[in-house]
Amino acid sequence: MNTMNMALPGGIDCDVHPALPGMQALLPYLDAYWQEQVTVRGIDGLDLASFPLQMEAHGRRDWREPGGKPGTSLERLQRDALDGFGSRLAICNPLYGVLAIYNEHFAAAVARAMNDWITAEWLDREPRLRASITVAAQSAEHAVDEIERRAGDARFVQVLLLAQDEAPLGNRRYWPIYAAAERHGLSIGVHAGSTFRHATTSNGWPSYHLEDYAAHSQAFQSNLLSLVHEGVFNKFPALKFVLIESGFTWLPAFMWRANKTWRGVRAEVPWVDRAPGELIRDHVRFTLQPTDSPPTGEDMERLLEQIGSDDMLLFSTDYPHWQFDGQNVWPAGFSDALKRRVLVDNPRNAYPRLKEALQ
């Protein structure tokens, strides 16, 4: 039963996860050399360890076939996510393990194949879908080639990176990617997850998935520190960064601390000409799921006030990850006016290339 307030407009779901069934599905999109490599060497199973798909948390029971891999079916995504939430558009963020491959040429080949696969089997078949460009950020050169290759297709709205890569994402090694994205009006999506170049916490390897999952939020914060202090927002002022599946209730405390530290150490990074909190409010957005909600709606209202901007949250279901039950996509404490902004206005502003689609 759809318990959503039907007076709310259909929105833009900024995080859905079509899943690649396996390398078999990519073979048609690989060239002869890579087809042979993959087949002869038996290369498969590049699903990210950050999201083991048999875990119910990463595939809601009513959104998957029993024993099957959640997210592989377009029909289910249409029914469960698009129709289910009345969404006008949904942005696909495929999480197959391109970014964690060490052979950068292989990574680039898989990235290219992923983008061909998502175009042919998702975007071409469902006009309400948009997508992130999968890139092999291991090599900025390869990544920029792939961005240039896809930029002409307006259905690609974003370049996808993972939050736990080899270096924090403000690092200059990523700047050619940001330059290419900015040139083409693409946003940068930073999705939760690790390439496992480093332990999942700076204290080493926790025992449990639960801890790894919780630790995504610290990783996102480290990335924000990097983006701010390396000067990415100064260098690429038109670029928007979307933190995806990051949570957002940690944001006020983060901004207070970042502002305070910066004031005392400013001269180390003299190009940072505004407080970190200001830069983040202008350049960074967050998808709604997971909400990591406080106990009451009143607490959430206070938290939203502490964030200090209504522009930052973007509607998402995170389909098929299990972030809420039934249709309860909204946490308590969101007014209808805010919901409307989160559903339509904020995503439209976060993704310049969507504006055309929403004419």
Binding site: N259, R263, P270, D273, A275, R281, G308
Partner: protein, 137 residues
Amino acid sequence: MARHIVAAAGEILPGGRKLVTIRGREIGIFNLGGEYFALLNRCPHQGAELCKGTLIGLATSREPGHFELTRRFEMLKCPWHGWEYDIRTGQSWCDPNDTKVRAYPVTVEHGATLVKGPFVAETFQVAVEQDYIVVEM
């Protein structure tokens, strides 16, 4: 307001400073290239002895990776939290205000200007009268 003699002319060398107490308040007198400035020895942030801070220049940048230092030794770095104050005006740098984005302009200027902070260290008028340096307070 009264005039208080704080030092003999020439006693505070260029680049130097002297701490004096006038009417129970500690004041730092600074000589910047022959000009004198006086600041209350109390940081508005958490009350540190501001005038004992390190003399620094003003680091600015037009873009990431570019570094420029001007106003050498004309800025004071508070000994505690390191906030930077312009000795000439008492103005702090770095806007600590978590102002809401609605009230803030969207365009970003590339590093040419620093955002002024709302804190201003208390300053006093200093004059050189014949053989003495005088503070009015």
